[in-house]
Every structure is written in C-alpha cells, then in structure tokens.
C-alpha cells in the first residue's frame, strides 16, 4: 500500500539527490582554473541530461529488471515499460515504483559526474559524453544490479552497501584513477600553478552536497522511518567529524587549517558514511568520519608522490573514502546487521570481497571503454586548446566578464 509519508519523503530525497549533481558541478568548478570553469560545470550538467535519458531507455531495466543469473537485469522495463504508479513487488513497497525509479536515477546520474573530477581541464567534451554513456551502461548498471537488485550476486553474498559506497563511490573513484592514468597529466602539471580559481563556488557546492546527501543516505531507507532517522544522523555526524579530522591533519602537517580542507574533509566524511549510514550508531559514525578525514587527506598527499594527475582528487576522496567506508561498514555495523566489532568476521570479509570485485571490474571496464573511445575519436583536446582553456575552445563562451 502506498504511504503518503514515505512518498513525500522519497520525493524530497530524490529532489535532494538531484541537487547534488549541480552541487558537485560547483564544488568541482571552483577548483579548476577560471578558463575551464564552464567546461567543468558542464561535465556534471550533461550527466543530468544524458544519464536521465539512458536510465529511462535502458538503465533502469538493466539495473532493476528481472534478474538474469545475478549479473544483470532483463529488458522487461525498457522505456520504463511496466514502471507505474503502484508499488513494485520487489523494491520500496510503500511508494509508487516510479518514485523508486527516479530516486535510483539520481544515483545513476551523479556517479559518472563524480568521475569528471579526475579528467577536467583536458578531456574532449564529445569523448566525455560517450564515456559516461558507455560507462553507465557497462559499469554502473551491472554493479548496481549486483549490489541492490533482487537477485544480484553481491547482495546475495551479503555485501552491505546502504546508500552506494560500492555502487557509487568506489565505482566512480577507481574509474577516475584509471581515467587520470590513461588521459595523462594536464600540460604543465605539476610545475605550473594549478590552484582553485574560486573557492566560494567550491564552498557553495560543498554546502549543497552536504544538504543533498541527507536525501542520498536517509532516502536510501526508502521510507520515513527509524532507519532513515539513523542514516540522517550518522550522515551528518560523519561529515562533521571528517571535516574536523582533515583540518587537524592539515593543521599539524602544514601548520594552517584551510577552507578547502574543511570542505574536502566533509565530502570525505559523507563518502565514507554512505555505505554505512543505516547500519552504524552515531558513535560509529564519529569513528568513520574521523578516519575518513585523515585517510583521504593522506591519500590526496600521496598523489603528489605517485605523480598521476587526478586533478580534483576524485580517486583520493571518492575512491579511497568509499573503500574505507565499505570496510568500516564491515567493522561498525550494528543496526539491522553486524560487523567485526559485533564479532561478525564474515561480514568484514564479504565487504572486502565486494570492494575488490568492484575495483577490478570498474577499473578494467573503464580502461576498455577509454581505449575504444581513444581509438575512434580521441580523448584529449589539442595542446593549444588546453592552453587557451576549454570554455572558449570547446564551448565558445567564457565564465566571467566581471569588469
């Protein structure tokens, strides 16, 4: 039966998650050089356009259609066939299945957009569009099915992923690393000054991300219930804790806490709590958050050592934070599940397996997709375009004319 309260909550949650993609656009957009700000925003906005259509046409069906051997959904929901105003027998039994469909769609949209952080300032726009489309079909939809669909093999194995640590963040983070490696560094990196051009824009993005993440995590309870309440609380606490610990790490390491550190930390915390949100206690959330801030800060530093150019740390924050979160879920779970601390070693191992599987799968598929696109239309813009900036050369516009 349809519950008005659950419907209201899930509609709100869907709207909140939608807002995260523009939020991400601003978060990323502020961190690039001003000559690339619009292109960077565009990479998120185009995901809204393209993945929405992809999800309607085939994505929802691949992810949540009739299960085929645990690996993929059937084509019975192509073009949303049979996705209507009554609840689904399998998912979110108290809301019209269209609500479940649109809530899930928002996750499918933001995930490829997250990857864009690794490839900004140099990737060809057309190549990017093809990339996210193919990636959605070949990476997101299957992994989403494995973990969340009725019959998906990782879900059946018992992997816990409350709101997308594996499906969203590890998937996107690992793919981001591969993209950064395949694309190569930006011209001049790291010797030139690759510094954020507008941290107020980044802060706006961070504010909207935090706000939207309540929909992401607490919405994943699929109802206005106790689990939603718990997920909401743990989400908030982890964000705060990670912001705090990132700042402390920074304060100790470079002697000053920074605004970029504060917002980077809170995003790291939100990433890490995602798989755990409905499974852990508020105190567990503190530990997960504190860990996320420090771990992601270190992983971002290591980038310098290894020398790849994950431009905005999509891997450093989403990949590493997602892995920490997925494993931490196996440690701290205590609500509707148990983890290592409650003596459930098995859960911990399952979590590690799920992490490993998605790293291998997403990494490999991303590599293949990129190589195909590279062969057909190429991946990078011309060197001169990169110097001039992608806003002007790829889109014929400029971000600011302030005087």
């Amino acid at each position: 039966m349809i519950s008005g309260a659950d419907t209201a909550w899930l509609l709100v949650a869907s709207a909140l998650v939608m807002l995260m993609t523009p939020g991400l656009a601003f978060f990323y957009g502020g961190m690039v050089r001003s000559k690339n700000v619009l292109n960077t925003l565009f990479l998120s906005f185009i995901a809204l356009a393209v993945i929405t259509l992809e999800w309607v046409v085939i994505g929802y069906s691949m992810a949540f259609g009739r299960d085929i051997g645990g690996f993929i959904g059937g084509l019975n929901h192509l073009f949303l066939h049979g996705v209507g105003l009554t609840p689904s027998p399998n998912y979110a039994s108290t809301v019209p299945v269209l609500v479940f469909m649109i809530f899930q769609m928002m996750f499918a949209i933001i995930t490829p957009a997250l990857i864009s952080g690794a490839l900004v300032e140099r990737m060809k726009f057309s190549a990017y569009v093809w990339f996210i489309l193919l990636w959605a079909i070949l990476v997101y939809n299957p992994v989403c099915h494995w973990v969340w669909a009725k019959g998906g093999w990782l879900g059946k194995l018992g992997a816990l992923d409350f709101a997308g640590g594996t499906v969203v963040h590890i998937n996107a983070g690992i793919s981001a690393l591969i993209v950064a490696l395949v694309l190569g560094k930006r011209k001049g990196y790291p010797s030139a000054n690759f510094v954020p051009h507008n941290l107020t824009l980044t802060a706006i993005g961070a504010g909207l991300l935090w706000f939207g993440w309540f929909g992401f995590n607490a919405g994943s309870a699929l109802g206005a219930n106790q689990t939603a309440a718990l997920a909401f609380v743990t989400t908030h606490i982890a964000a705060a804790a990670a912001s705090f610990s990132w700042l402390m790490a920074e304060w100790i390491h470079v002697g000053k806490p920074s605004t970029l550190g504060a917002v980077s930390g809170l995003v790291a915390g939100l990433v890490a709590i995602t798989p755990a949100a409905g499974f852990v206690s508020p105190i567990g959330a503190i530990f997960i958050g504190l860990g996320a801030g420090v771990i992601c800060y270190i992983s971002v530093l290591l980038k310098g050592k290894f020398g790849y150019d994950d431009s905005l740390d999509a891997f450093g924050v989403h990949g590493v934070g997602g892995i920490w979160g997925a494993i931490a879920t196996g440690i701290f779970a205590c609500h509707n599940a148990t983890g290592l601390l409650s003596g459930n070693v098995h859960q911990f191992i399952v979590q590690v397996i799920a992490v490993a599987v998605s790293i291998v799968y997403a990494g490999f598929m991303t590599f293949v997709i990129l190589k195909v696109i590279q062969a057909i239309i190429g991946l990078r813009v011309e060197a001169e375009e990169e110097v001039t900036g992608l806003d002007l050369t790829s889109h014929g516009e400029t971000g600011y004319k302030l005087v």
């Binding site: 690759f194 510094v195 954020p196 470079v254 800060y297 971002v300 530093l301």
Partner: protein
C-alpha cells in the same frame, strides 16, 4: 612635462592620493599590478600541495605633471608610501613630449 610612475603597496593608495592632492596634483591614473622584487612572495597550500606566488599585489600610479613639479611629486609619493619595510616600491620619472585633454583638445600644461 614628466610622467611619474610609482609602484606602491595597495593599502597606501589613499594616503598617497591625499598627499598628492594636497600638493596640487589634479589627476592620476591607477592600475592594479603585480610586482616581483626583493620582497619574497608567499606560499599557498591546497590539499597539502604548495604553490609559490612570486608576484605580489601592488598598485601603479601614473601621472603626468609639469617639469618643475616632478621632483616634488616624487618626494611626496616617497614619503606617503613609505613603510620602511621591503616591498615599498619604486618611482620612475619619464619624459613626456606632449599632452592633450580629450574633452577640449587643449595641449601642453593646460591639458593637465
């Protein structure tokens, strides 16, 4: 006529302007510039990575004045802009051959 160009610390602009007005300078043009010199730049840190900024914000004042006022103007700027700390800036004096006021077409001293 001479052109005086002074590069100063931005927060000294108001003092300098007032000092100049008080000795009878009626016009000047200023530009936001960035300076490199003995004064060290600063370091910014983003996500743990350091970036050195060698060029510091300065303000350039340009004004054309009659021959006889030039050294007084330079002195005045020097006094008003001085903090005594490194990076206070420079004053340059250049020759000017002609001046014209656009509004009236006047030339020479009258145009100033």
């Amino acid at each position: 006529m001479k052109k005086i160009e002074a590069v100063i610390k931005p927060f000294k602009l108001d003092d300098v302007k007032e000092a100049l007005v008080s000795i009878g300078v009626h016009g000047m043009t200023i530009t936001e510039v960035r300076g490199f010199g003995r004064q060290k730049g600063h370091t910014e840190v983003y996500r743990g990575a350091e970036y050195t900024v060698d060029f510091l914000p300065k303000v350039k004042i340009e004004m054309v004045v009659p021959e006889d006022l030039a050294s007084k103007v330079a002195e005045t700027i020097c006094n008003a802009a001085k903090t005594g700390k490194i990076g206070d800036g420079k004053i340059f004096i250049l020759p000017v051959e002609e001046v014209m006021r656009i509004r009236t077409g006047e030339t020479g001293k009258d145009a100033l």
